[in-house]
Amino acid sequence: MGEFLTGSACFVLAMVALGLVRILRGPADADRIMAPQLLGTGGIAVLLLLAAATGAPAVVDVALSLALLAAFASVAFVLAKGSPAPGKADEP
């Protein structure tokens, strides 16, 4: 079972890697900021798989922390983008 779970973690990681290539290339900054978002979800999956594969329950706590903070990069980005010209990000 451990081997299968590790293999799955590897697969998810590879998928994340491919997605990362696409996102980081842009074109817009908003595309790029999806990278931490992608890694958030993918990273949580990888960590949970690893936790189960290696029987290390503490690793779930790492995944928990990542999940808790997963939206931070996006939020920080949007707020920072919005602040030099107030309301800019809010106009439709």
């Binding site: 590790t6 790029r32 990278a35 790492v62 990542l66 931070f72 990069a73 707020l79 030099p84 107030p86």
Partner: protein, 310 residues
């Protein structure tokens, strides 16, 4: 070749690729997006290196604090690199130098002594005297507590340094790190829902740190992240540098740590030693106070100083 090794190889390649992207990207923002991803990947690397405590730290710092800090700066600083990149001669020379250093490092790492020297047995042997079960916590608070104490002073000095960058006419003003734009209600909702959950998780991470991976810094950073989130949502205002309450919270952890350290002289004969009977509870008390201070420090470092009045 086992699945684990393939995973490691993938991870290493991915980390290096993201690092190359971060250095090579022409524009600043993509580089920083790459860097935040790099931080998240490192958290997985730490798990693979059996350092779950470090992984937690990296997740909290890389996923929360550093990301907010750098993304905020990158989105605001509109500077672009000049048309003329660093001279090609400099780049070649720097490249050769860095290549040489990498090669030397690689060689050293591959030829490190086998079996590796380790302090693990000694660290484990000392655990009963500290009353904690997580050897890393024992290292941080007992064996090498002085490092942790001085590190808190470093953090405090960083806070002072950041405050020092307040323009004189704004001293005492509220920092407004995220402008005054109308708040996005998705962010507000996230803050309202997540912050209390984050409080529970943060305290939990500190609490388990005594015996399992976790600890004051990891938990404190999560609490700081929640504080930041609530401020980002505009639900509470940041505290000014002149706030006495804030300063006392900043100082509380290091001060208690120092007081216990000096009390060690009287109680068990040595600075920063714990009487075995109370060691466990003293350490937990210190961790609790440090958590609050760390949360405040990390928060203040990310918020930054008040900006110039216009």
């Amino acid at each position: 070749m086992s699945a684990a090794l393939i995973l490691d190889a993938c991870l290493v390649l991915l980390v290096l690729a993201v690092a190359v992207w971060t250095i090579a990207a022409r524009e600043t923002f993509p580089a920083i997006a790459g860097f935040v991803s790099y931080g998240l990947l490192l958290a997985i690397v730490w798990v693979r290196l059996s350092s779950v405590d470090v992984a937690l730290t990296e997740a909290a710092i890389g996923g929360g604090a550093t990301g907010v800090l750098l993304l905020g700066a990158a989105a605001r600083l509109t500077d672009r690199a000049g048309r003329r990149p660093a001279g090609i001669g400099l780049r070649i020379m720097a490249g050769a130098l860095c290549l040489a250093i990498t090669a030397a490092l690689a060689f050293v790492i591959l030829t490190l002594p086998d079996p590796a020297p380790t302090l693990a047995p000694q660290a484990v042997a000392g655990l009963p005297a500290t009353g904690v079960g997580n050897p890393i916590t024992a290292v941080l608070v007992a064996y090498r507590g002085i490092d942790t104490l001085l590190e808190k002073i470093v953090l405090l000095l960083a806070v002072i340094g950041v405050w020092c960058l307040t323009p004189d006419d704004s001293w005492g003003a509220l920092p407004a790190p995220w402008g005054t734009a109308r708040q996005d209600d998705a962010i507000v909702l996230l803050a309202r829902l997540l912050a209390p959950v984050g409080v529970v998780v943060g305290v939990y991470i500190v609490w388990v740190g005594a015996d399992d991976p976790g600890g004051a810094f990891q938990g404190g950073t999560i609490l700081a992240a929640m504080w930041l989130l609530v401020m980002m949502a505009g639900l509470i205002a940041p505290l000014p540098a002149t706030s006495r309450r804030l300063r006392r919270v900043l100082v509380a952890g290091p001060a208690l740590f120092l007081a216990v350290a000096f009390a060690g002289f009287a109680m068990s004969g040595d600075f920063l030693s714990y009487p075995p009977a109370y060691a466990k509870w003293l350490i937990k008390l210190i961790e609790a106070a440090l958590t609050l201070s760390i949360a405040a420090m990390v928060g203040v470092l990310v918020i930054g100083p008040a900006v110039r009045k216009r």
